[in-house]
């Protein structure tokens, strides 16, 4: 398995854990592993939101650094580590992630505007129009975009 594919698998697990952390910090509903998450957004103060954001950023940086360091130490020293196919797959995965993010941000914009225009009668229960809601939506999109990138990387290694 190429080093980049191994990295994608391990960091996919890390980002899935970060997604779980994000959901437990912002939402409630279903109980799992002593944590609650679901479709109801738990309103929070701006200070607490900032703290959650900083925690997420620190966890993501630490996770990525640890994974990169461990893989660098265990890497096969003989042979080429990365070639044109790896670069092409990385570029394709980045593009997939970009289009996912663009689509998701458009959905958020439409949701917020439609919610303001129609009072939420025809909108889903997940309300993103509050400060907590919009912070959650944007952080969710960023996290999901990272997950999409890793899935696209793994998919492209399997397909090409």
């Amino acid at each position: 398995m190429p080093q980049a594919e191994r990295y994608a698998w391990i960091s996919l697990i890390a980002w899935a854990a970060i997604l779980f952390f994000l959901l437990t910090r912002f939402t409630s509903g279903v109980e799992l592993l002593g944590q609650s998450f679901g479709l109801t957004i738990v309103e929070q103060s701006a200070g607490r939101l900032l703290w959650t954001y900083v925690s997420l950023a620190v966890i993501a940086i630490i996770a990525e650094s640890v994974i990169a360091s461990v893989l660098a130490v265990t890497a096969d020293k003989a042979g080429i580590e990365k070639d044109e196919r790896d670069v092409a797959i990385e570029a394709r995965a980045n593009l997939t992630s970009y289009w996912f993010m663009a689509a998701a941000l458009n959905v958020i914009v439409i949701h917020v505007l439609a919610n303001a225009a129609y009072g939420g009668h025809i909108m889903p229960q997940l309300n993103l129009t509050s400060l907590t809601g919009i912070a959650f939506a944007l952080l969710l999109v960023l996290t999901l975009a990272e997950i999409v990138k890793r899935i696209a990387t793994i998919w492209n290694y399997r397909a090409a």
């Binding site: 398995m1 190429p2 042979g79 080429i80 580590e81 990365k82 070639d83 044109e84 196919r85 790896d86 397909a159 090409a160």
Partner: protein
């Protein structure tokens, strides 16, 4: 404007085995990973022109002896 599709075919496996080279050895000589050589042999990945020329050069044959474009 319609996009024309085609397929890049190769006979790297035959040339490589005839010379007693492993995928790893060929990869090292052309500056690619073993996985990339494997993907090229299985025709899952079409390499850049530069890599295609490098591969032909390692075998000491003309470009068209390795590569073929099927419309």
């Amino acid at each position: 404007m319609s996009r024309r599709s085609g397929r890049v075919r190769n006979n790297i496996r035959d040339l490589r085995t005839a010379r007693g080279l492993s995928q790893g050895e060929l990869a090292e000589q052309v500056g690619a990973t073993r996985q990339t050589i494997n993907a090229i042999e299985q025709e899952k990945y079409a390499p850049s022109l530069e890599l295609a020329f490098r591969i032909a050069r390692v075998f000491g044959v003309k470009f068209e002896a390795v590569w073929e474009f099927e419309d």
